[in-house]
Symmetry: C2
DNA sequence: CGGCATCCATTTTGATACTG
DNA sequence: CAGTATCAAAATGGATGCCG
């Protein structure tokens, strides 16, 4: 059910909220459009995801994880944990900030649910926003729906250094790598609650 | 590194100890022999497995998980857990007892390491043996190397019913589905310490 | 023989054109 | 923009060959 090529990658993309067909195509470079249609159909048959009508004008179609699909988060978590433990950086592989965010989300402790500051994070050209509702965390791709209480922007290496705990928020701000619009304390808290698993590398920034 | 077809299936096979090339081919029906060689080479490059010379006469070659490969057990565990949670039995998929044993191993609690009874389990034509050494459990395919203190034999449905906790050892023995050579208490302990994750189905035996 | 490399007929896939 | 149709290129399964 999950072993076919692309399948878990689609699940990973949907881990940060619903996505439209075209978005998925963009997020999965190299994947053919007809193959995406096939995989989506299979995953829908298996009740891993469902088609939904996006709210707002146009009622655009999108795909969203079902509960069964959400229950795959531990799978993504264990894979993220394994990948984070590799000593050698996978140079030949690309790394997107959103993937790091997925890793942060799926391995975040329950305590992260208490992070109720609407936070927007822009890494290069990738925007994400995060907010806990007390019960669970919501992490989503795109700009924050409302005016965020905390807004951070940085480049990808800085994001990963922060996510892996190799740099502190204070250091990153001082060096000018991280710009913060909002409370510094919230920013510190964000990277304390959400962090990538098993980071071990000591690459320089 | 892991997403290519067959890759995680190879890891699963090696989860129950070293296997030789031909054994892997038999365990992976449908996989071409040249493709197996390719995958093994890649996994060796990535230090997920290594070639070893099997002890004994002939010093036959075999493949064994490295520490990095062993650290993939949580990935197998999360996948097993997910699969076990499916309501609908995957009728179109085959299920081997060894795969159930992998699920039992990877999700067993640390307490299972204290299971120091050399136990042989024969399910249809698949033999496996288990023993904890106090620190960790060893689960391996094949006949037990020494005379086991506990020997159990049953058919696949019985094994899965026991593994999922839908049947008790006592019931299975009484109904003649499970034969035990050794201590009944050990058998009960075995299925208490090792059990499949999140079993929910209530199929009849 | 077991452990692979080679070769080839199919199947799967990626890229692109196309349609509602 | 969402998805289908099409086609060439790549991956694969199976048979076969090689080699210690």
């Amino acid at each position: 059910m999950l072993g076919d090529r692309w399948t878990l990658l689609i699940v990973r993309e949907l881990a940060l909220g619903p996505r439209r067909y075209g978005d998925l195509l963009d997020a999965l470079p190299g994947m053919g459009t007809s193959l995406l249609a096939t995989r989506l159909k299979h995953l829908e048959e298996y009740s891993v995801l469902r088609r939904i009508a996006l709210p707002g004008p146009g009622r655009a179609a999108a795909y969203e994880l079902t509960d069964r699909g959400e229950s795959l988060m531990p799978v993504l978590a264990s894979l993220a944990e394994w990948g984070a433990g590799l000593d050698e950086p996978p140079a030949e592989f690309t790394t997107r900030a959103a993937w790091g965010m997925v890793a942060m989300r799926v391995t975040a402790s329950g305590e992260a649910a208490s992070y109720d500051t609407l936070t927007e994070l822009v890494v290069d050209d990738e925007a994400m926003w995060v907010r806990g509702d007390g019960t669970k965390v919501r992490v989503q791709l795109g700009r924050a729906p409302l005016d965020p209480a905390l807004r951070m922007a940085c480049a990808r290496p800085t994001f990963f250094a922060l996510a892996r705990g190799q740099t502190t928020v204070d250091e990153a701000v001082e060096s000018g790598h991280l710009s913060i619009d909002g409370g510094l304390a919230d920013a510190r808290r964000f990277f304390r609650l959400f962090h990538m698993p098993g980071a071990r590398r000591t690459d320089s920034l």
